[in-house]
Protein backbone atom coordinates (compact mmCIF):
# COMPACT_ATOMS: atom_id res chain seq x y z
CA UNK A 1 0.00 0.00 0.00
CA UNK A 2 1.43 3.31 -1.16
CA UNK A 3 0.48 6.68 0.30
CA UNK A 4 1.75 10.01 -1.08
CA UNK A 5 0.82 13.23 0.70
CA UNK A 6 1.75 16.79 -0.23
CA UNK A 7 0.83 19.38 2.33
CA UNK A 8 1.59 22.87 3.61
CA UNK A 9 0.65 21.97 7.20
CA UNK A 10 3.29 20.78 9.62
CA UNK A 11 3.11 17.07 10.55
CA UNK A 12 4.12 15.21 13.70
CA UNK A 13 6.91 12.74 12.91
CA UNK A 14 6.05 10.31 15.71
CA UNK A 15 2.32 10.35 15.09
CA UNK A 16 2.94 9.60 11.41
CA UNK A 17 5.24 6.70 12.36
CA UNK A 18 2.63 5.22 14.66
CA UNK A 19 -0.11 5.54 12.05
CA UNK A 20 2.19 3.87 9.55
CA UNK A 21 3.04 0.99 11.92
CA UNK A 22 -0.58 0.25 12.92
CA UNK A 23 -1.75 -3.22 11.78
CA UNK A 24 1.62 -3.86 10.24
CA UNK A 25 0.74 -7.35 9.02
CA UNK A 26 3.49 -9.08 10.95
CA UNK A 27 6.25 -7.20 9.10
CA UNK A 28 9.67 -7.41 10.71
CA UNK A 29 11.14 -4.03 9.87
CA UNK A 30 10.25 -0.38 9.38
CA UNK A 31 12.55 2.48 8.40
CA UNK A 32 11.47 6.09 8.78
CA UNK A 33 13.47 8.90 7.24
CA UNK A 34 12.64 12.38 8.49
CA UNK A 35 14.13 15.36 6.67
CA UNK A 36 14.28 18.49 8.83
CA UNK A 37 14.91 22.14 8.08
CA UNK A 38 18.67 22.27 8.61
CA UNK A 39 20.09 25.24 10.49
CA UNK A 40 23.50 24.41 11.87
CA UNK A 41 25.85 26.71 13.78
CA UNK A 42 27.69 28.81 11.19
CA UNK A 43 25.06 27.96 8.57
CA UNK A 44 21.98 29.07 10.46
CA UNK A 45 18.91 30.10 8.50
CA UNK A 46 15.76 31.95 9.51
CA UNK A 47 13.29 30.23 7.22
CA UNK A 48 12.92 27.97 4.22
CA UNK A 49 10.43 28.46 1.40
CA UNK A 50 9.56 25.31 -0.53
CA UNK A 51 8.09 25.89 -3.96
CA UNK A 52 6.59 22.95 -5.81
CA UNK A 53 4.81 21.95 -8.99
CA UNK A 54 1.74 20.25 -7.53
CA UNK A 55 0.48 18.06 -10.37
CA UNK A 56 3.93 16.84 -11.33
CA UNK A 57 5.03 16.34 -7.70
CA UNK A 58 2.07 14.06 -6.97
CA UNK A 59 2.66 12.12 -10.18
CA UNK A 60 6.45 11.85 -9.75
CA UNK A 61 6.29 10.74 -6.10
CA UNK A 62 3.57 8.19 -6.88
CA UNK A 63 5.62 6.71 -9.72
CA UNK A 64 8.74 6.70 -7.53
CA UNK A 65 6.84 5.05 -4.68
CA UNK A 66 5.49 2.32 -6.95
CA UNK A 67 8.98 1.67 -8.30
CA UNK A 68 10.41 1.40 -4.77
CA UNK A 69 7.66 -0.95 -3.56
CA UNK A 70 8.21 -3.21 -6.52
CA UNK A 71 12.01 -3.13 -6.54
CA UNK A 72 12.47 -3.76 -2.80
CA UNK A 73 9.33 -5.83 -2.20
CA UNK A 74 7.98 -3.39 0.38
CA UNK A 75 4.77 -4.19 2.25
CA UNK A 76 3.87 -0.54 2.73
CA UNK A 77 5.35 2.84 1.80
CA UNK A 78 4.36 6.37 2.76
CA UNK A 79 5.86 9.60 1.41
CA UNK A 80 4.88 12.91 3.01
CA UNK A 81 6.37 16.14 1.59
CA UNK A 82 5.61 19.66 2.67
CA UNK A 83 5.64 22.89 0.69
CA UNK A 84 5.35 26.56 1.62
CA UNK A 85 7.12 28.37 4.44
CA UNK A 86 9.02 26.25 6.98
CA UNK A 87 11.05 27.09 10.06
CA UNK A 88 14.30 25.52 11.35
CA UNK A 89 13.88 22.07 12.92
CA UNK A 90 10.47 21.58 11.34
CA UNK A 91 10.02 18.36 9.37
CA UNK A 92 10.04 18.77 5.56
CA UNK A 93 9.71 15.22 4.36
CA UNK A 94 9.05 11.80 5.85
CA UNK A 95 9.50 8.50 4.04
CA UNK A 96 8.43 5.30 5.79
CA UNK A 97 9.06 1.80 4.43
CA UNK A 98 7.76 -1.46 5.86
CA UNK A 99 9.10 -4.86 4.89
CA UNK A 100 9.58 -8.44 6.05
CA UNK A 101 13.33 -7.99 6.57
CA UNK A 102 15.45 -5.00 7.47
CA UNK A 103 17.60 -4.34 4.41
CA UNK A 104 14.64 -3.85 2.08
CA UNK A 105 13.21 -1.21 4.41
CA UNK A 106 16.55 0.61 4.63
CA UNK A 107 17.15 0.45 0.88
CA UNK A 108 13.56 1.35 0.01
CA UNK A 109 13.57 4.52 2.10
CA UNK A 110 17.11 5.44 1.01
CA UNK A 111 16.24 4.93 -2.68
CA UNK A 112 13.11 7.07 -2.42
CA UNK A 113 15.05 9.90 -0.76
CA UNK A 114 17.90 9.78 -3.28
CA UNK A 115 15.61 9.88 -6.31
CA UNK A 116 13.20 12.38 -4.73
CA UNK A 117 16.08 14.82 -4.15
CA UNK A 118 16.88 15.14 -7.84
CA UNK A 119 13.67 14.14 -9.63
CA UNK A 120 10.72 15.51 -7.65
CA UNK A 121 9.73 19.11 -8.51
CA UNK A 122 10.51 21.01 -5.31
CA UNK A 123 12.78 24.02 -4.98
CA UNK A 124 14.17 25.47 -1.77
CA UNK A 125 14.75 29.13 -1.03
CA UNK A 126 16.53 29.91 2.22
CA UNK A 127 16.37 33.11 4.22
CA UNK A 128 19.62 33.68 6.12
CA UNK A 129 20.79 36.98 7.57
CA UNK A 130 17.66 38.57 6.13
CA UNK A 131 18.69 37.59 2.59
CA UNK A 132 16.83 35.13 0.38
CA UNK A 133 18.71 32.64 -1.78
CA UNK A 134 17.69 29.70 -3.94
CA UNK A 135 19.46 26.54 -2.80
CA UNK A 136 21.69 25.14 -5.53
CA UNK A 137 21.45 21.54 -6.66
CA UNK A 138 24.38 19.46 -5.46
CA UNK A 139 26.25 17.15 -7.78
CA UNK A 140 26.57 14.68 -4.92
CA UNK A 141 22.81 14.27 -5.11
CA UNK A 142 23.18 13.16 -8.72
CA UNK A 143 25.76 10.59 -7.64
CA UNK A 144 23.47 9.41 -4.84
CA UNK A 145 20.66 8.88 -7.32
CA UNK A 146 22.85 7.26 -9.95
CA UNK A 147 24.15 4.54 -7.61
CA UNK A 148 20.65 2.98 -7.74
CA UNK A 149 20.81 2.56 -11.52
CA UNK A 150 21.08 -1.01 -12.66
Amino acid sequence: MLTVRLQAEIFDAGTETNTFLRDCGGAGAAVTFTGLVRSLPGQAIEALELEHYPAMAQKALTALGEKAMDRFGLMRLTIIHRFGRLLPEEPIVQVMALSAHRQAAFDGANFVMDVLKTDAPFWKKETAGGKEDWVGAKSEDDFARDRWQK
Binding site: E51, M56, K117, D119, G136
Partner: protein, 83 residues
Amino acid sequence: MKILYFAWLRERLNRGEETIDPPADIATVSDLMDWLAASDEGIDLVFENRDLIRVAVDDELVEHDETIAGAETVAFFPPMTGG
Protein backbone atom coordinates in the same frame (compact mmCIF):
# COMPACT_ATOMS: atom_id res chain seq x y z
CA MET B 1 -0.27 25.61 -24.87
CA LYS B 2 0.34 26.51 -21.24
CA ILE B 3 3.88 27.38 -20.18
CA LEU B 4 4.90 27.20 -16.51
CA TYR B 5 7.99 28.66 -14.83
CA PHE B 6 9.20 27.71 -11.36
CA ALA B 7 11.70 28.90 -8.74
CA TRP B 8 14.20 31.51 -9.93
CA LEU B 9 12.93 31.34 -13.51
CA ARG B 10 9.50 32.41 -12.26
CA GLU B 11 11.01 35.14 -10.08
CA ARG B 12 13.23 36.60 -12.77
CA LEU B 13 10.47 36.52 -15.40
CA ASN B 14 8.01 37.89 -12.86
CA ARG B 15 5.38 35.40 -13.97
CA GLY B 16 4.68 31.72 -13.31
CA GLU B 17 2.41 31.00 -16.21
CA GLU B 18 1.54 32.09 -19.72
CA THR B 19 -0.42 30.78 -22.65
CA ILE B 20 1.25 30.67 -26.05
CA ASP B 21 0.48 29.47 -29.53
CA PRO B 22 3.71 28.34 -31.18
CA PRO B 23 3.85 27.83 -34.97
CA ALA B 24 3.42 24.29 -36.32
CA ASP B 25 7.13 23.78 -37.08
CA ILE B 26 8.05 23.94 -33.38
CA ALA B 27 8.42 20.20 -32.82
CA THR B 28 10.65 19.65 -29.78
CA VAL B 29 11.32 21.18 -26.38
CA SER B 30 14.51 22.60 -27.81
CA ASP B 31 12.64 24.25 -30.71
CA LEU B 32 10.19 25.71 -28.22
CA MET B 33 13.00 27.13 -26.10
CA ASP B 34 14.55 28.77 -29.18
CA TRP B 35 11.20 30.22 -30.18
CA LEU B 36 10.41 31.52 -26.66
CA ALA B 37 13.90 33.03 -26.29
CA ALA B 38 13.60 34.77 -29.66
CA SER B 39 10.24 36.25 -28.73
CA ASP B 40 11.17 37.56 -25.25
CA GLU B 41 14.41 39.06 -23.99
CA GLY B 42 13.69 37.97 -20.40
CA ILE B 43 13.25 34.36 -21.46
CA ASP B 44 16.39 34.56 -23.61
CA LEU B 45 18.24 35.55 -20.43
CA VAL B 46 16.88 32.84 -18.10
CA PHE B 47 17.47 30.21 -20.81
CA GLU B 48 21.08 31.40 -21.18
CA ASN B 49 22.60 28.21 -19.78
CA ARG B 50 20.37 25.61 -21.39
CA ASP B 51 21.98 22.67 -19.58
CA LEU B 52 20.65 24.00 -16.28
CA ILE B 53 17.05 24.13 -17.42
CA ARG B 54 14.87 21.10 -16.64
CA VAL B 55 11.69 20.56 -18.60
CA ALA B 56 8.45 18.71 -17.96
CA VAL B 57 5.89 18.05 -20.68
CA ASP B 58 2.42 17.36 -19.27
CA ASP B 59 3.92 16.79 -15.80
CA GLU B 60 6.59 14.33 -16.95
CA LEU B 61 10.31 15.16 -16.83
CA VAL B 62 11.77 14.99 -20.36
CA GLU B 63 14.99 15.67 -22.23
CA HIS B 64 15.32 18.74 -24.46
CA ASP B 65 15.02 16.67 -27.63
CA GLU B 66 11.58 15.36 -26.65
CA THR B 67 8.61 16.14 -28.89
CA ILE B 68 5.96 18.60 -27.73
CA ALA B 69 3.33 17.40 -30.20
CA GLY B 70 -0.06 17.43 -28.50
CA ALA B 71 1.37 18.82 -25.24
CA GLU B 72 -1.00 20.86 -23.09
CA THR B 73 1.58 22.06 -20.55
CA VAL B 74 5.32 22.64 -20.77
CA ALA B 75 7.12 23.58 -17.55
CA PHE B 76 10.60 25.07 -17.20
CA PHE B 77 12.57 25.04 -13.95
CA PRO B 78 16.06 24.74 -12.41
CA PRO B 79 17.46 21.44 -11.06
CA MET B 80 15.27 20.27 -8.21
CA THR B 81 16.24 20.64 -4.57
CA GLY B 82 13.48 18.99 -2.57
CA GLY B 83 13.67 16.51 0.26
